[in-house]
Structures are given as structure tokens and as C-alpha cells.
Amino acid sequence: MDEIAEAIKQTKAYYCLDCGKCTGNCPVSLFDKAYSPRVMVKSVILGEGEKLGKTRLLWSCLSCKMCEERCPSDVQYIEFQRRIRGVYRDLGQREFCSHGGAFQSLMRIMTAPKLKQNRLGWLDKDLSVSKRGEDLYFVGCLPYFDAFFEDLNVHTLNTARSTIRIMNGLGIKPMLLENERCCGHDMLWAGDEDNFKRLAEHNLKEIEKSRAKRVVFSCPEGYRTFKLDYPRYFGKLKFEVLHLSELMAGGSSQNPLSLGRLNKAVTYHDPCRLGRHMGLYDPPRELLKSIGDLELREMYHNKHTALCCGTSAWMNCDLASKQIQMMRLREAKQTGAQILVTACPKCQIHLTCAMKDTHLGGSLDIEIRDLATLVADSLPSSKRKK
């Protein structure tokens, strides 16, 4: 097939030395012995991909990019995997959806042009936003996650509130989009380019209408998708794309924040999209360190070796996912930190879900916080409130 040949060529899969470093470092392979990136590349190159394409293994890759860190030949494995998924999706294969496919349905529903969402109900009165301005905050799927994972006690909208609070602290009154759609990240990685493009077009049109110059993200997935994937499909964007941590730690604003104190040991979990995908290892850490008295402890796997949270794009959540999550939680516990900080709502959801296992007897329980909420709580204003 031409598409497969092209994928092999463009992702440099031809250069695979068959050394197996990818499989040796892949967190999925660690627990699911049936899955091997090396074998995946090899069988597709040898024209035997069809066999794997019909199995669950096609959807196993977490696109955490650990393999690419190690690959001596610079094979772009996750991009390779994404394209292969697209080929087999066109042939009728479907991903194994978690949560009864509710999220996939949500995302596809959001492609409807006439959609009029009620997605700003969470906006508290103390949060300052503006109708017109240069900065825009792209909230992402937080309102949906917040509703869906209420039982899990993960309130993702607090991240949105905290982000605005921080931006306010920096003197920014961001714009919000009333009819923002899903960024399309999950559709893209499940090989569904058509729906990805539909969602992206909606978003780009809305942002253009707002005339924003800078778009700020709290979500690493949205950040990566806008910064890397949108330009690939739609050319150079007319606005700057920034992650919240860049906005603060990069000192791009005239108003550096003065943060309060938090006498606690914390450890930071790098979301794959923010870390290995975008290279933002230090800004979140610097931000944490600027909180007084806070002690930052590193897990055994950190920065470019950080472990993934085990599930990606609401698909193929399985036994291996759970094992990866437990391993990550164990690492966090070993640091002796009281709080596990992450910057991604999905990492927060997945790791919290893993702690639910009653057989663990609470042995892996640890407080999980989002970076933005931890920082926002240390703002002088919020202290005063308390």
C-alpha cells in the first residue's frame, strides 16, 4: 500500500537496525509481552502488518515517545504508529474504547458545525476574563472530564479556574471561547484524521475571529496539538502558542508572581506531551521551586525518562496500563513526597483511578495535584481568601 510505504519513508522506519532498544524501554512492552515496537516496525516493513493490524496491539502504543529517546536511528516511531493506525482504520479496524466510548462520541459530536455548547458555566465571579484582548486561554476538555470523573474526585475544572487566577495574577485577563471544540488530539492519535481536521478547522476559525495574538494552554495535549500538529495540516498559525508554565517561568510577562509558602515535599510527574514531545522539563520545575519552603524530589524516572501515565486517547486501557500506573505511583511513594504534581488532567485521572484498587489497601495512595492548582493556591490573593 502506498500509504504504508510513505509512512515508512517519512518516519525513517527504513533505518531501523532491529536493535530492540525501543522495546526494551517501552513501558507497554514491560508488562504486555505481546507488544513490541520493534516487531511492529519490522512486520510492517516486511509487509506483514496486516496480522498485527487486526489485533489489539495496533492500539497499544501510548505515544509516550520513550522509544524515540533511545532509538539510534531516529525512527519516528509514534508518528509511524499513528499513520499505520490511520491505514487500518480506513480498512475498518477500530480502537478499543474506554468508558464505553463516551469520549469518542463526545469528540465526534463536537465536529457538528451548529453545536452551541454551554461550556463556561464554571466561570466563578472572582475570575477576570475579557471579551477582547491579545491573550486567549484554551480550556480544552476540562468541563467534560470534570463531569465524567466526579465520582473519582478529580475536579479538572479547578485547573481551569486556577489557570485564570494565575493569569489574572500576571495581569492578564484572558479571552475564552464560548464554542471551543476538542483540540482533536485523541482523534489524531487514533488515526482518525478526518474528524481531527474538522475539529481543528472549527477551533482555528473561532480563534481567528477572536483576533488573539497568544493562546495559552494548561493542557499539554492541546499545547502539543496546536504547536506541532495544527501547523502541519494548516500552515503557520497566526498566533503564538504557549504553555502556562512557559508563560510564568519564562518571564515573558512584565508581572512576575510572588508566591507564598508550602512546607511540603512534592515530586513532579512529566506528562509525555509536555516533556518528551515538547521538551518542557524545566519550566514546570522552576515554577514549583518558586513556591517557598517547597522541596522538589525527583522520581527514579524523570524528565526525558519519565514514565507515562499508562493510557492515551481514551483507548486500550488494560492490564498493562494499570501496571504502569502502579509502577509510577510506587516511584512517587519512594521519594517520600507528600504530593504528586502533574500538569495533565489525564495523568491525574489515570493515576487516581489506579489507586482505587482495593487489593492495594491504600498502599499507593498519594495526593495528586495539578501544577496550576498548586501554584494558584500559593498566590497571595488566594491566601488572603483562606
Binding site: S98, G101, K116, C317, S321, Q323, C353
Partner: protein
């Protein structure tokens, strides 16, 4: 798919009755209108005089459940270790395995479990029926298998039982007839001790001359089981000589320690049990030459296995030979003159009557001659004025149904009535006597007499399933030459592994082994096994012993369905139960928390990973666990998410982005209908169903998660109507609550998405409320028309 919409009700099955077989797509896992019927029983059970559940206990051995296996044997047989050694096993010739290769070694398997448990001895196997202190006293005369079985039964029924035994040891023919190398004495003692433990008073050296005295002493009833202890001779010249004796006198003498010297040469006349036992005993007592003479051909030997064993020990077997005269000198035996025979024409029972060949006489030298021809009851000690009726064969005559003699309160049975029979038949008589005494004393039946079991005999058609050839286990291991030197048991106990392998050879004739394991396991108490022959011979849901013929219970199996008029229908069924796809299970226990049937258990695998498991004997197939499972590891048989999605795609094809003129303008409504209320009502609705209403059958609304509701909307449904039971009448009692939670979740998401909440509605009805259903549907359709098409359709 679209199959969901196909009609598959009982009525349709009735219409298909002309066909050989129908396939029922959505039968229930639970006992609903469909009742599974146990189909017939296995030959081995029918062949056993006790009706021992052979297939059941063999199956339990195969599964390694030795204790339960022995408990099952003990339901009918108080002497498993004894029968495991000396039973004539009428079951084995009937075993269907024999048509494939060789019969299952049933007797040896029984001995295996009996010995295994005797060896463990830590815990006595449970025997049904509690021991009670007796009120009414009952006497039993004779402590053989018939007498002791009756004693054991009566003691368990709460009588105070006394057994009188003339000899110094209990056990009757077991102790004084069968030699210890076939039946070790400690085995007899252990099983008799177990009966004594029930409170039975066994008194040895107590001869009862007149049983009527016992009645006068206060015993309410007497059972005479005195056996057939008088050995017969032939009536040939010279048999009155010294050292010419009958086998019983000989064996009894040896076992009671008063035996005479035999000399080097012994001739045994006859080839039955007593003859072969005498021959082998003679060898062990030091006789060099032991000759057994038998008047028929070698093919007609009654116990060829035992004869072969005797021959291997060194016994010489002469067939087609009869004794003519016992030769003597000085009053002592010197030899036997014999004549050769030939087979003549067959008699009315098919046995060829031998006739002697003239001039074929020859002599066998002998120091002792033992006649092992026949035995009859020894009635010499009865008082002269006894009231028994005696048959021409010198046996007691009783009423065959009740075993009652002419004297009220005195019963008789066993060899004393029938002449010599086997141990297993004696045990059967013992049970019968106990039932009869119970009836006599209590004035009511112990239990209804079973129907002729032959009617229920199962057939196995070997042609359509060729079992793998597996050799029968061999248990004799010691070199036969050394056997003759000692009185120890010669048959060795098989290893645990080979016993289980042997039990695994059972073909499991008849689907249900009646081992009752399912009933014991089912903590929901859904199962019951009815007694054969009584009313309602039905109800057995699962086949308890899984083998390669029934992998995981997922394969469709034949069920008998009771139709509305009580008629019996044949069908293939595979139940709607949940399964776990273990690779996807992340052990979150959501399923275990939601399942109120407790069919889900979280188990720790060998590698330490915790996963969920389904007990499919408890699962009722509501699908609530599927709804709450975050990963899709829970799968409901037949109603998979993929299948429902496909159905939705098929029904709603073309509604998104399609042309909305004409046909497309009417509202498309997806209706998830509960199998127990809305679905059947809608299926045979008496009112007109709007054209755009697509009915999807689900086991319970609790099996529809918010994802499926959103999927229907995404695919272009204008409205989603969830129709199920009212909360008080929810078929699964909790499915309703699960459905409400899911609808709430979907409503929240729809609100944020900006889709009108009215487009998703949960309505509850009872299964009879046709009018209400009509109103609900009409109202919903009108509302959808007003709301206009789903924004995704434009």
C-alpha cells in the same frame, strides 16, 4: 446485525417444533420460563444394585475432590473400602468406555477414594443423617453386609439398634469367607467400627436361636440376615471321608484359626469365589499342588479375572472335568476320580449343558478334597416349633416387597432368603430391609419407590464423537510368584495421579452426573436437584463437571425448554452471562461493587495481578458490570457493545448529513427496551409504532452506558428513549439504579454539549402496561417532532 429485532419468542419456537432442533439466541442464565431438564442417567448407575451415583463420584475423583467423592459413595454404600475390593462390579460391563477401549476401573476407583480417606483419617467424611439417641429398639440377627447396612440405616433414622452375631467376629461372610489377601481384616474392622460409631451395638458370640424371644424382650422388630453358611457337597461316593470337606468349613476354619493340615495335594471342586479363594488359601498354607476342576469350558468361568490371578499364583485349572468319586485309604482321602466333559446343546438360559465323555476317567492324587459347589442357609439351630416358611432350597420365604416373614415383626433378607449372592446385592437388601422396618414401625414410607431406572438410561452415540483411546489403569504390581507366600493384600492402590487419569476416562454418559456439586456451590440457592421418579423431574442448570466436551460452559448445549402449555421443547442454548477479557481488566473492582448477585470476584493471579472473575453459575446476565467497567473488559454474551453499536449504525445509516426531505424528516428515535418489560410489549404491540422508532433489545437498562446513549445521538438519533421496569419491579432489582446514574451522566454531558436534555429520556413501566407504553411513545415522538432534528443531522 439486525438480529436483535428478529422475533425469537417461545411462540416462534413452538412454530418450529416440526424441525429437529432450534437455536435459541437469547436464553436466560437464570431460571425463568426456561427450565433445564436433566436428561436421563448413566448406565453404571442403573446397573448398580444400590444405584450408586458412579458417574458422580468418578467425576469428582477426576476433579481431585476425593473427600466429596467418598461422601457421595457413602450416601448409598456404608462399605466403600470393602466394595472397592470385592464388589463384583456389575457397573463395569455396562460402561460405555468399553465400547471405545476398556471400561473405566470403577471398583478400583472406589477403593482408591475409600483408602485415600482412611489414610488421611484427619477428618471423617460427612455422612448424611445425624446420630440420634434411639427410642425404639430394633434387633438384627447376623452381622454380614445386609445386617450391618440395615443397622446403619436404622441407626441414622434414630432407632436403637442391636446386632447379634453368632461367630466371634462381626462381618459375616466378609470376615470368615473372603480371605485377607483379597480383603484385609483391618479394612473390615474400620468400616464396621464406623457403623458402631453411629451407636449400633454389635454383640458377637451371641447366637439367636429363636427370634421371637427378641420380640418378647422388647425389641420392636427383628431383621434376620443370617446368611448362607452351610456348604454343600455333591453326593458322590467317598465324599464322607476324612479330609473331604466343603469350602465354607475350610475357609471359616482358616480364618477363625482352627484349620486342619491340608497336605501337599489339594483338589478343589468348582470355580466360583469360594473355590478360587480356597485354592489360593491352600497355596498360602503350604500345599504344593492345588488343582481346581470345573465342569464347563474356560470361556464359561464365572470370574475369569480371579481365575487368571489364581493361575498366575500356581493353581492348576482343569476345565470340562467333573469328579466321579473320592478315593480313600484307611478312611482318609487319597485322590479323586474325574471324568472329562464336552459342551452340549444350550439350555433355556443359553448355558451349554456339559455331558461326560465315556471312558475318559482319570485320577488326580489328593490329600484333601474341597467342595465349593454351593451354599445354603444353615437353619439347623432354629427351634422345632419355628414359624418360618422354608423353601425347597432350604431358604427362608418372605414377602418379596416387604421382606416380612409370617411372624409379625420379624423380617428376613440377604443370603438367608435368596441363597448366596454378592456383597453389593446384600447391601441393597439391607437398605430395603431398613426401609421396610421403618415403614412397619412408623406407618409411613421412607421414600417413594423409584421408577424403573431403565427408562432413564442415557445413550451415548459414539459415532459423532470419537473419544481418544486411553488405556485402563493396571493396578497389580507385585510379581505374582511372591503372592502365594503371604496373606497380605495383593492388589495395590494406584497413585493419586493415575486414579485421576483413570477417572478422566469416563465418557460422562448423560449430561448430568448428579454429583450435586452445583447445588453445594450455589450460594444463591438457585439450584435444586429433584428426586427421580417424583413430580417435576427438572431443574438442573449447569453441567458441574467441565471437560473437553463442555469448554467453559460457553458452547451451546442442548436444553429442554418447557413451553407455555408445559410441553417439552428441544433447543440449543448458550446463556447470557458475563465474561471477563482478562487482558483488559485493570482490577478496579467497579464490577464487583455493582453486582448485587455477588457473581464478580476480584482474584489475585499467580503473578500477583488482581483481576475480576465471573462466577457464571451465579451471573444472571443483567450487564450492569459492563456499564461500569471503564475498559471494556466486562463483556455480556450476545449483547456486546460492538453488536449494539453495529445495530445502531445500521438502523441510523444515512441520517447524519443525509438528505432530510421526505423520509428523513420524521424523528428517528432509538428505544433501548428492557427484555423483561418494554421489549416484549413493543415486540407484540397492539398499537401502531411510529415508523422512525428503532427498538433495541437489552437485558436491562442497567446494561446501557452513557457512551451508548451518546453514540445513538452521534449517529443521528433525534431522541433516545430508555424503556425499562419500574424501580420496584426491576427484574434485576438494581439495574434500574444503574440506568438512572448513566442517564444522569449523559444528561450532564449533553447539557455541556448544548444538546437538549429532553432528547434522552428514561421511562419506566410494568410489563403489563401497554396503554401507558403507548402514551409514552406517542408523547416522546411528538416532542421530538417539535424539537426538530438533532443538530448533528443538519
Amino acid at each position: 446485525m439486525g438480529k436483535v429485532a428478529e422475533k425469537e419468542s417461545i411462540a416462534d419456537i413452538r412454530a418450529l417444533l416440526e424441525q429437529e432442533e432450534v437455536v435459541l439466541h437469547f436464553p436466560q442464565a437464570e431460571l425463568g420460563p426456561y427450565t433445564l431438564r436433566r436428561v436421563k442417567t448413566s448406565q453404571c448407575k442403573v446397573a448398580c444394585p444400590l444405584g450408586t451415583d458412579v458417574k458422580g463420584y468418578v467425576g469428582l475423583i477426576a476433579g481431585g475432590e476425593f473427600k466429596k467423592s467418598l461422601e457421595l459413595i457413602k450416601e448409598t454404600n456404608p462399605f466403600p473400602a470393602i466394595c472397592g475390593r470385592v464388589c463384583m462390579h456389575p457397573c463395569e460391563p455396562e460402561c460405555h468406555r468399553g465400547e471405545v477401549d476398556e471400561p473405566v476401573a470403577i471398583r478400583m476407583l472406589k477403593r482408591f477414594v475409600a483408602d485415600y480417606e482412611l489414610k488421611q483419617a484427619s477428618e471423617k467424611p460427612k455422612v448424611r443423617g445425624a446420630r440420634k439417641t434411639g427410642q425404639e429398639r430394633v434387633a438384627i440377627v447376623g452381622s454380614g453386609p445386609a445386617g450391618l447396612t440395615a443397622a446403619s440405616d436404622l441407626a441414622r433414622l434414630g432407632f436403637s439398634v442391636t446386632v447379634f452375631e453368632k461367630l466371634p467376629v462381626a462381618g459375616g461372610m466378609l470376615s470368615v469367607g473372603i480371605p485377607p489377601f483379597r480383603l484385609p481384616r483391618d479394612v473390615i474392622q474400620a468400616e464396621i467400627a464406623a457403623i458402631a460409631d453411629l451407636g449400633v451395638d454389635i454383640r458377637t458370640k451371641k447366637e439367636v436361636k429363636d427370634p421371637r424371644r427378641l420380640l418378647r424382650q422388647g425389641y420392636k422388630a427383628v431383621f434376620m440376615a443370617t446368611g448362607a453358611h452351610r456348604g454343600l457337597k455333591l453326593g458322590i461316593p467317598g465324599e464322607e471321608l476324612q479330609h473331604s470337606l466343603d469350602a465354607l468349613t475350610f475357609l471359616k476354619g482358616v480364618h477363625l484359626g482352627s484349620g486342619e493340615r491340608l497336605g501337599n495335594r489339594v483338589v478343589i471342586i468348582g470355580a466360583g469365589y469360594a473355590a478360587l479363594d480356597s485354592a489360593r488359601t491352600a497355596l498360602r498354607l503350604g500345599s504344593r499342588h492345588v488343582d481346581v476342576i470345573f465342569r464347563r469350558s474356560k470361556q464359561e468361568l464365572p470370574y475369569p479375572d480371579l481365575a487368571r490371578e489364581a493361575e498366575r499364583e500356581g493353581v492348576r485349572l482343569h476345565c470340562h472335568v467333573v469328579p466321579v468319586k473320592v478315593l480313600g485309604r484307611n478312611g482318609r482321602v487319597r485322590g479323586v476320580t474325574c471324568a472329562k466333559m464336552r459342551s452340549g446343546p444350550a439350555d433355556e438360559v443359553g448355558r451349554r449343558q456339559p455331558s461326560s465323555i465315556k471312558g475318559s476317567e482319570f485320577s488326580l492324587p489328593a490329600d484333601t478334597v474341597i467342595f465349593a459347589i454351593h451354599q445354603e442357609p444353615d437353619l439347623s439351630s432354629l427351634p422345632k416349633n419355628h414359624s418360618f416358611e422354608i423353601s425347597p432350597w432350604n431358604t427362608l420365604v418372605v414377602e418379596p416387597e416387604t421382606l416380612a416373614t409370617k411372624t409379625k415383626g420379624i423380617f428376613a433378607g440377604g443370603d438367608a432368603v435368596s441363597g448366596p449372592k454378592s456383597v453389593i446385592e446384600a447391601i441393597a437388601v439391607g437398605h430395603k430391609a431398613a426401609a421396610s422396618l421403618y415403614h412397619y414401625l412408623k406407618g409411613k414410607e421412607l421414600k417413594p419407590a423409584p421408577k424403573d431406572p431403565g427408562e432413564r438410561q442415557a445413550e451415548v452415540v459414539i459415532e459423532d464423537w470419537v473419544p481418544e483411546h486411553k488405556n485402563r489403569m493396571r493396578t497389580l504390581r507385585e510379581a505374582p510368584k511372591s503372592w502365594r507366600n503371604h496373606f497380605h493384600e495383593v492388589e495395590h492402590l494406584p497413585s493419586e495421579e493415575s486414579a485421576r487419569r483413570e477417572a478422566g476416562r469416563c465418557l460422562m454418559c448423560g449430561p448430568c452426573s448428579e454429583c450435586e456439586k452445583c447445588i453445594a456451590e450455589c450460594h444463591q440457592k438457585l439450584l435444586a436437584l429433584s428426586v427421580p421418579g417424583t413430580t417435576g423431574e427438572q431443574v438442573l442448570v449447569r453441567i458441574p463437571w467441565l471437560s473437553d466436551r463442555f469448554p467453559n460452559g460457553h458452547e451451546p448445549w442442548e436444553v429442554h425448554i418447557q413451553g407455555p402449555a408445559g410441553e417439552s421443547l428441544r433447543a440449543l442454548a448458550s446463556p447470557v452471562v458475563c465474561q471477563v477479557w482478562e487482558e483488559l481488566c485493570r482490577g478496579c473492582a467497579e464490577c464487583a461493587q455493582v453486582c448485587e448477585y455477588e457473581a464478580r470476584k476480584m482474584v489475585s493471579r499467580e503473578d500477583g495481578v488482581v483481576v475480576s472473575q465471573v462466577d457464571q453459575s451465579i451471573c444472571r446476565g443483567c450487564g450492569a458490570c459492563v456499564t461500569v467497567c471503564p475498559t471494556g473488559a466486562s463483556i455480556l454474551g450476545h449483547f456486546t457493545e460492538a453488536r449494539i453499536t453495529e445495530t445502531l449504525e445500521h438502523l441510523l445509516a444515512g441520517s447524519v448529513g443525509g438528505k432530510r426531505k421526505g423520509e428523513g424528516a420524521r424523528p428517528h428515535i432509538v428505544c433501548f427496551g428492557c427484555n423483561w418489560s418494554a421489549y416484549p410489549l413493543l415486540e407484540r404491540a397492539e398499537f401502531e409504532i411510529p415508523a422512525g422508532l428503532h427498538l433495541i433489545r437489552v437485558m436491562c437498562l442497567g446494561s446501557v452506558n452513557s457512551g451508548l446513549m451518546l453514540r445513538a445521538l452521534e449517529l443521528g438519533a433525534d431522541g433516545v428513549l430508555m424503556l425499562g421496569c419500574t424501580s420496584e419491579k426491576c427484574h434485576y432489582s438494581f439495574g434500574n439504579r444503574v440506568a438512572e446514574t448513566q442517564v444522569d451522566m449523559a444528561h450532564k454531558l449533553m447539557h455541556t454539549l448544548g444538546i437538549e436534555k429532553q432528547r434522552l429520556r428514561l421511562e419506566t413501566i410494568s410489563s403489563g402496561e401497554s396503554t401507558k407504553l403507548k402514551r409514552i411513545i406517542r408523547l416522546f415522538a411528538t416532542k421530538m417532532s417539535k424539537l426538530g432534528p438533532n443538530l448533528l443531522r443538519s
